[in-house]
């Protein structure tokens, strides 16, 4: 039976902060405009696009994880039927992209990392792009790519980040293998451990995982009639038009990215994917080009989530109060830097968990290897550490005989506390309530169905930053305007990854401007025609672009009401917008189209461009604990009930309750969807997802070997939405895109220990690992 997700408004918390309740559309369970289109297959995803005369592009990829390219001979391939272009590194106007890598310790200093569009003299990971082919058909392009003769000389590689940091290890890049190193020192850790009644040490490992979106990387590029290189692509970041321009060595205003509705992003479409290759092939051939990566190549070569090694040493008083955390993190960057340094920063800042810990030290490093590169993925470093800190919380609680909920209540952050990096928590933290509700919602304990089956329960909490790092000075913009008939247009360069990003903007604009939702049209994600809104990453889009739309709508409302007051001869305060009309305090009304015509006659603008700037700050020295890193955090608690077969080690998750304080649910349906989807993705991380890389060779390049959970492998996730109204987003909303993926792995590991006494510290929590831990083999 499918249990209904529950929306439980948290009246306690909400009343405490005065959550605005008299809203018409915001907070309603609205069916998103994009939902029907997707279900009826009307949505034109990136790969659905076709143009007359279109070529098909493919990427030839490296077979080896570490090799020198001695020669590339494309003579035969170039003469094959249908082939229009073959490109190698020498054909790329600017083949090397440099990025500044943050990382504050002297061991690294400020580093510039390079990325080659196409491999030059060497390859650093299996699947690294080496050449491009465009041909009349995809088959012809693939056959030609296979006919390109690349002569490799194999080089020694390094495939483990710890080994990569040893002296004499093969260098992945000339600058050395240490890519970034962050440290946090907060309080007197040694003294704090001396006070501790119990000290728990743990060594945890997490795995490579893939974003595994339904829609692989895809797009179509063409040179439009105005000469602009136009790329219609599945991306989380339309601002990559600048990267394409840089590679092509053309002005940035000569490249346009049109973002499509995405079949999933999860961070995997945050870095450049096909767009640079499409731009190159369209530029070279002058013809439209389509590129769709196969599932195999996506699994083979696309950036993964970082595997982490996490060492924790946790000291607590007999009361359960955590007094010290000593944490060492080591992550695998793979062959190129991508966003590794920032992922590690997120991990560093959140490593001690959403708890008040007076003494914390974190030493975090990320190293290059010849493995598949790693980069952004939902949770962005703040995820791996949940497995570490929540496993530790459970173990401390067990050592002291405290319940999981008590343990969290004793240690939960609250407003006014200072995080180890020196950031003062200035919004409400509902963690004790979230933990209590999650635990209570598990209900009656399921009786075991056989003597060899054990039942157990586990709790895990997390906090996830939303919005970008404050010193990145994040901003977003949106244009809101009325047409003459009273229909409303919202324009904002927001990529919609499937979370309802566009739909929420419509709800906000309609709410403020008093029109029905059906009267709103939204245009998104076009770098030439929509005001730029920044990336759909970092759980930031509702927060940032929601605020931009709110600001634009409120300004527009004000403009119109001033005009209305003039037309009606009343004070500004005596008019309001509702039901597509101006209403006066004395009961008169003026239909919106009439007001808009009047505005037109009076020269009053019927639109407004809103720009929202996030609270900004300067870079902080984490080591000195100097201050703010992120604008705010979203807090959550998950409770799991598992069944363990003690003869085979098979674990089945019977129940999962996921509770998050989202500040304000703009559309509870979308919020619950994010929570359920994230939690299920988190269960895949917990139980089965694993990109197996052996000496740099990816062993899991199909969905027969890379396992993701299907509907029958997971329970119905019960999503409980708590609304404290304390977020920085519109109407007090917090970001909810990433947070729900964090806790399931630790919640399940804790439940397994509850059931069996066995502590698993390596992800995924496979039945084989449990069988070994139980001493069955």
């Amino acid at each position: 039976m499918r249990s209904k997700p529950t929306r439980a408004s948290s009246t306690d918390v909400a009343d405490a902060v005065g959550l605005e309740r008299d809203l018409r559309l915001v907070g309603q369970r609205v069916i998103r405009h994009d939902a029907r289109d997707k279900v009826t297959a009307a949505t034109a995803f990136a790969a659905d696009w076709a143009m007359p005369g279109m070529l098909h592009g493919v990427v030839l990829r490296s077979l080896y994880p570490s090799a020198r390219i001695k020669n590339i001979d494309a003579t035969r391939a170039a003469s094959m039927p249908g082939v229009a272009a073959i490109m190698t590194a020498k054909d790329v106007p600017r083949n090397t992209l440099w990025t500044d890598v943050p990382g504050q310790t002297t061991a690294v200093g400020s580093l510039r990392a390079k990325l080659h569009v196409l491999a030059e003299d060497r390859v650093r990971h299996q699947g690294e792009p080496v050449a491009l082919v465009a041909a009349e058909t995809e088959e012809q392009a693939r056959e030609a790519a296979e006919a390109i003769a690349v002569e490799y000389e194999l080089l020694p590689g390094v495939f483990d980040p710890a080994q990569a940091l040893e002296p004499g290890a093969p260098r992945v890049h000339e600058e050395g293998n240490l890519l970034a190193h962050w440290r946090v020192c907060h309080g007197d850790v040694a003294a704090a451990f001396a006070r501790a009644a119990v000290v728990i040490e743990g060594d945890y490992r997490t795995q490579f995982v893939d974003a595994a979106y339904l829609e692989p990387e895809s797009g179509v590029a063409w040179i439009d009639s105005d000469g602009v290189i136009t790329i219609r692509v599945s991306t989380q970041v339309i601002e990559h038009f600048r990267d394409v321009a840089e590679v092509l060595n053309v002005p940035q205003n000569r490249v346009r990215i049109i973002g499509t509705y995405l079949g999933g992003g999860f961070g995997g479409k945050e870095d450049v994917t096909v767009e640079v290759y499409l731009g190159l092939l369209a530029w070279k051939t002058g013809r439209p080009v389509k590129m769709v990566w196969s599932r195999q190549e996506s699994l083979l070569a696309r950036a993964k989530r970082h595997p982490f090694r996490l060492r924790y040493r946790t000291g607590a008083l007999r009361t359960g109060q955590i007094v010290a955390q000593e944490i060492e993190l080591l992550a695998d960057a793979g062959g190129y830097a991508y966003l590794s340094a920032l992922v590690l920063l997120y991990a560093t800042v959140t490593a001690a968990g959403p708890y008040r810990v007076p003494a914390v030290s974190v030493d975090a490093r990320v190293a290059y290897t010849n493995n598949v590169p790693t980069s952004a993925m939902r949770g962005f470093g703040a995820m791996q550490v949940v497995f570490g800190y929540e496993s530790q919380m459970e173990r401390v609680a067990r050592a002291l005989g405290l319940s999981p909920v008590e343990m969290r209540k004793i240690n939960a952050l609250s407003r006014g506390d200072t995080l180890p990096v020196g950031q003062v928590v200035d919004t409400h933290v509902a963690l004790p309530e979230l933990a209590e509700r999650a635990w209570a919602a598990l209900g009656e304990l399921t009786p075991p169905r056989a003597p060899h089956v054990k039942i157990g329960r586990g709790l895990a909490c997390n906090f996830q930053p939303y919005g970008r790092i404050v010193w990145l000075h994040d901003w977003s913009s949106a244009w809101v305007g009325f047409e003459m008939d009273g229909s409303l247009v919202v324009r904002s360069g927001v990529p919609d990854v499937g979370g309802g990003q566009a739909s929420s903007l419509c709800q906000i604009a309609a709410e403020v401007l008093g029109v029905p939702l059906e009267q709103v049209s939204v245009y998104i994600a076009d770098s030439a025609l929509t005001p730029l809104a920044g990336t759909t990453t970092a759980s930031r889009q509702l927060y940032m672009s929601g605020n931009a739309v709110l600001k634009a709508s409120r300004e527009l409302c004000e403009q119109l009401l001033k005009a209305a007051a003039a037309v009606l001869g009343v004070d500004r305060d005596a008019v309001g917008l509702a039901d597509s009309a101006v209403r006066t305090a004395d009961g008169r009304s003026l239909p919106l189209p009439e007001l808009l015509h009047a505005c037109s006659r009076m020269g009053v603008p019927r639109s407004h461009l809103g720009v929202y700037h996030a609270p900004a700050g300067e870079p902080v020295d984490l080591e000195k604990g100097a201050g703010k890193v992120f604008p705010d955090y979203t807090y959550g608690a998950h409770a799991a009930e598992v069944e363990v077969d003690t003869e085979t080690g098979v674990v089945k998750v019977l129940k999962l309750v996921a509770v998050h304080d989202v500040g304000r649910a703009i559309n509870p349906l979308s919020v619950e969807g994010q929570i359920q989807g994230g939690a299920v993705q988190g269960l895949g991380y917990a139980l089965m997802e694993d990109v197996v890389v052996e000496k740099g060779i990816n062993m899991t390049t199909s969905f027969a070997s890379y396992l993701i959970p299907s509907a029958v492998d997971v329970p119905d996730v019960r999503a409980i939405v708590v609304e404290s109204g304390e977020g920085l987003g519109p109407f007090g909303a917090r970001g909810i895109g990433e947070p729900p993926i964090g806790p399931p792995a630790a919640a399940v590991a804790n439940a397994i220990e509850d059931a069996t006494g066995a502590r698993l510290s390596v992800l995924p929590l496979t039945s084989e690992r449990l069988a070994r831990a139980l001493g069955l083999m």
């Binding site: 995809e138 088959e139 693939r142 196969s294 195999q296 003869e647 085979t648 098979v650 089965m688 694993d690 197996v692 062993m699 899991t700 199909s702 027969a704 070997s705 396992l707 959970p709 299907s710 029958v712 492998d713 496979t766 039945s767 084989e768 069988a771 069955l776 083999m777």
Partner: protein, 290 residues
């Protein structure tokens, strides 16, 4: 990806189908396509001709035999096995095995003959066929022949079928085997098993719980469906209790020959074969006792 180009033919008779195989040494038979089509799409196989046998008459039937057994046509779908009262009644082991094959969409298309001829060492139906001592009928250009299931499976994805031959039917001998058991462990619902065991225990006489013969077959634990003669021998003539079942499991774990892959190590597969054998033996005994 899409398959490499091939010629598609859809013969209307067995003779015509065999003729197609005769014409093209690189032809492949298409039945349910549940294993072949993914292999085509990944271009792991590139046949020049695809001989679609779905229009062949008479291969999709399930018929009772006088000795209490069944003859099952090669084009019978897994779903048909599950829906058939005859199968449930006469070969309940086969029905149990079919329930573990893939997902519903796969069971709706996939065929018994296809599963046997594909011969995945981790597949359910080959193991069930060996445990049930089935006989397979093969037709070729020259003649029709029969082969016991236990001799049909030669290696991973390799069978005794010659290139121009076709599997047409499977006969499961009577009488009805009431002492059956089937268990598998897969990482996800619907996946090929990490390891599994199918078993039949046949009582010698009216006495309950005493076996004269047992056939135990492991899958996912060797290059073919793997008979476990040592474990089976342990059960012969003995009253089955938990200790004996466990002992049989221990022997089974030792005599299977699994390999490591990304999903599990050989050691874990051995462990599973032991546990599952014990469970299957107890299930066989319980069914005989009831």
């Amino acid at each position: 990806m899409k398959p490499a180009p091939f010629t598609y033919v859809r013969p209307k008779s067995l003779a015509e189908a065999l003729g197609c195989l005769d014409d093209d040494g690189d032809a492949k038979l298409l039945a349910g396509g549940q294993s072949l089509v993914p292999l085509l799409n990944m271009r792991l196989v590139r046949p020049t001709t695809l001989v679609d046998i779905n229009a062949l008459p008479g291969l999709a039937t399930i018929s009772p035999t006088p000795d209490g057994g069944l003859v099952i046509g090669a084009l019978v779908r897994h779903t048909d096995l599950l829906a058939s009262p005859l199968v449930r009644e006469r070969t309940p082991l086969l029905a149990a095995a079919a329930a573990h094959v893939g997902h519903r969409a796969i069971r709706n298309r996939g065929t018994v003959g296809g599963s046997l001829a594909h011969a995945d060492p981790a597949a359910e139906l080959p193991a069930a066929a060996v445990a049930l001592d089935a006989t397979l009928t093969i037709v070729g250009p020259a003649a029709r022949r029969t082969i016991p299931a236990r001799d049909f499976f030669v290696g991973p994805l390799v069978t005794a079928l010659e290139p121009r031959e076709m599997l047409t039917e499977i006969e499961i001998p009577g009488p009805v085997q009431r002492g059956w058991g089937f268990a598998e462990m897969a990482r996800r619902a619907g996946d090929f098993a990490i390891a599994g065991v199918a078993g039949i225990v046949t009582p010698a006489a009216p006495g309950r719980g005493r076996s004269s013969t047992a056939r135990l077959v492991a899958f996912g634990a060797g290059d073919t469906p793997l008979r476990l003669p040592g474990a089976a021998a342990l059960l012969a003539g003995q009253p089955i209790d938990r200790a004996l079942a466990r002992a049989a499991g221990d022997v089974a774990a030792r005599e299977c020959t699994p390999r490591d892959d990304v999903h599990a190590t050989a050691d874990y597969r051995r462990h599973l074969v032991g546990v599952l054998t014990e469970q299957v033996v107890l299930d066989c005994a319980a069914r005989l006792g009831s």
